[in-house]
């Protein structure tokens, strides 16, 4: 457990740190079972992953779910728009850390850094053009509790040109960040 240094007070595309409020496992205590849970051995350097690896089976399954939803681009939605779904969900739920990472990815893949920044600055109502608006609106409807996603969201995504496989990617990407946001927000805090 380390002390938070200078937590950010606004959404940003800058690289942030993250510090845990409870004790991660020390790197020296990690066993092969833990390394299997980390999936990438390099994650042993991260406080966040050394905390989550206290339950290695769940972490391993979660990480592999995440990787396939976001990185398997043989078909389906372009990377940029999967990241947009993640960033919009994080913006709406209020996760400054997750939003920073995925806004940055959305900018990198879309080359639309200013639009992504407007999502962060103005919030999920920012006008980003029909296609992105549809993705953001669907992500927000999914993130609401009770869940507000309905046939209108699907109709809007289709009007914006998404087919069913791409709509499934929006659903998966946005839903996954309701998982990720709740871990990042509740187990520690971001630092600048």
């Amino acid at each position: 457990m380390s002390a938070a240094v200078n937590p950010p007070v606004a959404f940003t595309q800058d690289e942030l740190g993250w510090v845990s409020w409870i004790d991660p496992l020390p790197e020296a205590e990690l066993t092969e079972r833990h390394y299997a849970g980390l999936v990438d051995r390099a994650r042993a350097k991260s406080e966040y992953f050394r905390l989550l690896v206290r339950d290695p089976e769940v972490l391993e399954a979660r990480t592999k779910t995440d990787k396939d939803i976001f990185y398997n681009v043989v078909d389906g939605l372009p990377r940029a728009e999967r990241e947009l779904a993640a960033a919009a969900t994080s913006r709406y739920n209020g996760c400054i850390y997750c939003a920073s990472v995925h806004a940055r990815f959305a900018s990198t893949y879309s080359k639309r850094r200013d639009d992504v920044q407007r999502l962060l600055d103005e919030g999920v109502k920012a006008d980003l053009g029909a296609r992105w608006n549809a993705v953001v609106k669907a992500s927000v409807a999914l993130a609401a509790t009770p869940i507000a996603f309905g046939p209108d969201n699907i109709a809007e995504l289709r009007r914006a040109g998404l087919d069913d496989a791409e709509i499934v990617d929006v659903i998966n990407g946005a839903s996954f960040f309701n998982w990720a946001n709740r871990l990042m927000l509740s187990l520690g805090e971001p630092s600048k």
């Binding site: 399954a61 939803i69 993130a143 996603f149 699907i154 659903i171 998966n172």
Partner: protein
């Protein structure tokens, strides 16, 4: 051979359907969403978070999202637990007290403060506490925070769980449980909606 998993069952996705074929193109995501569920509800080690605690929290979290096939599934899971049946009524009463709309809560003081939104700060009722016990009462209060106002979470909430008897590892598993259900509920809702539009 049926490939149906829990998400398919809850979303009503039939083997051989168009959605089944789309899900099959994300086989690793599909298999690992299922593995996440199994490692949370059929864990190899339940010493830091018991099976009845997992079932009770799951019934509470999914019930807070409103009635759905997912909520019914986890209510059944709690009922099927030998120690769970007696908790069902208490959990139902707490769901009724805790239902609201989210996300709401506060940001760190600064430019985002203008977006702060007040809402229910849920606490377990005095009447339910004896049946739940200190650990489960603390868990329900924390689960409500995670469901509706995750941006309000603070270091003190970790302290409250530790003081109620949760281990650090138990907190990680319990947090994963609530967060995973937040994912599963939404995937099921999204897929059900898509299947219904296409029917």
């Amino acid at each position: 051979m049926s490939t149906q998993d829990i998400i398919d069952t809850l979303a009503g996705i039939e083997p051989g359907s168009a959605l089944d074929a789309i899900r099959a193109r994300r086989q690793q995501a599909r298999e690992n969403a299922q593995k996440s569920s199994l490692s949370l509800f059929e864990p190899i080690d339940a010493s830091d978070c018991s099976l009845v605690e997992r079932a009770a929290v799951a019934a509470f979290v999914t019930g807070l999202h409103g009635e759905s096939p997912v909520a019914a599934f986890y209510r059944e899971k709690l009922f099927a637990n030998p120690a769970g049946g007696s908790l069902l009524e208490v959990i139902e009463a707490e769901i009724a007290r805790g239902r609201t709309s989210g996300p709401y809560g506060s940001y760190p003081a600064g430019p985002l403060s203008i977006e702060n939104t007040a809402g229910l700060i849920y606490r377990v009722s005095a009447a339910s506490k004896p049946a739940l016990g200190a650990r489960l009462a603390a868990a329900l209060e924390h689960a409500h925070l995670l469901v509706f106002r995750p941006r309000d979470a603070a270091a003190g909430d970790m302290k409250a769980l530790l003081e109620a008897g949760w281990s650090t590892t138990g907190i990680v598993t319990f947090s994963q449980l609530v967060a995973f259900l937040s994912f599963q509920l939404r995937v099921v809702s999204g897929f059900r909606t898509l299947a219904a539009v296409n029917a």
